[in-house]
Assembly symmetry: C2
Homo-oligomer: 243 residues x 2
């Protein structure tokens, strides 16, 4: 159980130390497992009454389109992330969701979710904690686009992604596998794809990070953290915050 935890359990475990009982309650949450091919939207803007999902494998992005045709990616979800928590609670999806890779996700029914929460409140705390972190990340993203230049922004993004992946066992302080194209990066960072390319080259040439062939390698983690003004505290928590 401990060795083969799901990414979701692993992530929650970083926030709240979970008992065997709570872990099994978590298992009962998982509904039907569904697969989605890369590229075709899972969720459309304005769609109502949809399920939530827990990502088991693969990456997705949440984005909004503008009338001019450009798009802004609001955030990425990686394995272990909860998808559509808000839209279950409020039944309003104001953005689209597109799988970046092939994706496997477990459906979570609103009923089961609420039931589990009332039976194991610590689990609810953990999930809401995770949701709160997601919100904070959107704010941090906003700050980055508004007040960081392209290089700092990219550095911060790669570090944050690394921290999140490490939390679910998909990365380490030395690097991680990353399926994002430069076009996706551009839409996330509010840049052009060409500039993304240049920025990545500069970061590489300065010996800070190498992002090539779907692999991010931190060549100088401290230097990168410094450049990005990255808050290292939540990069490094190995034990649960709440015993």
């Amino acid at each position: 159980m401990t060795a083969l935890q799901s990414p979701f359990a692993r992530k929650l475990g970083a926030f709240v130390a979970l008992s065997e009982e709570e872990l099994s309650a978590l298992d009962s949450l998982y509904g039907r497992r569904k697969a989605f091919p890369a590229g075709r939207d899972m969720v459309h803007q304005g769609q109502t009454d949809q399920s939530a999902y827990i990502l088991a494998s693969g990456w997705v992005c949440s984005y909004k389109l503008l009338s001019g045709g450009s798009r802004q990616i609001v955030d990425f979800q990686i394995p272990g992330d909860f998808l559509g928590l808000r839209s279950v609670l409020f039944r309003t999806s104001d953005h689209n969701v597109e799988p970046v890779t092939r994706v496997e996700a477990s459906e979570v029914l609103a009923k089961d979710l609420l039931e589990t929460f009332s039976k194991t409140p610590r689990l609810a705390t953990a999930v809401l904690w995770a949701a709160s972190r997601d919100e904070a990340m959107v704010v941090e993203h906003l700050v980055g686009i508004g007040r960081r230049n392209a290089k700092e922004r990219m550095a911060h993004f790669l570090l944050e992604l690394g921290a999140r992946l490490k939390l679910v066992g998909l990365g380490s302080t030395s690097g991680y596998a990353c399926p994002l194209s430069q076009y996706l990066l551009a839409d996330a960072m509010g840049l052009s794809a060409i500039h993304v390319n240049r920025v990545l080259r500069e970061l590489r040439e300065e010996g800070l990070v190498t992002f090539q062939h779907g692999q991010v390698e931190f060549d100088d983690l401290d230097g990168l953290v410094l450049l990005a003004d990255f808050d290292k505290t939540y990069l490094d928590h190995d034990g649960p915050l709440l015993k």
Copy 2:
């Protein structure tokens, strides 16, 4: 009662038609009334265990500081807005809150809030609806900074603010009073104050909107909406969404 509603009641009423009973339950929510002078932070980053507030008068902004000294304003709160709902539920404030003007706000204790929610669920729905709208606004803000140029961004911002103010009776389709300096606008839009000045001049000279002497006047609302790619639907709802 109906004539002299608080801004908060007025806003919730736009989402959910409230009965007399629900309105009086709302009244019981309001705790001690506090006043804050302009300029001195009400909430600091990292502060724990603080109250929530409902703004009665005045404007505040929520912002984050970067190590370089620049800051990014995440959003503004106006009369009727709930302040710190999240930090009551999660007890983590990851940003600062500064009054833009002198502010009067009613304290809301977590206990009273939850109690009221369980007694009058429709009120809970209304509050969460409002919270959800706030979240959506942060996302829209992110999109604007990432993918709209300065003029479109400013236009969108002024329209959104107008829509929010109209909801609480502090504005109309022709304009509203706005205490924000060009420096505050700059920090909100991710621009320099100088460029904000230029953009405002251009918008004025093109006959779209005039922002001078603390007053925003929509000179050509349709033209502005067009320029900003503004979703007019929630600008215009005069009646409650939920009877």
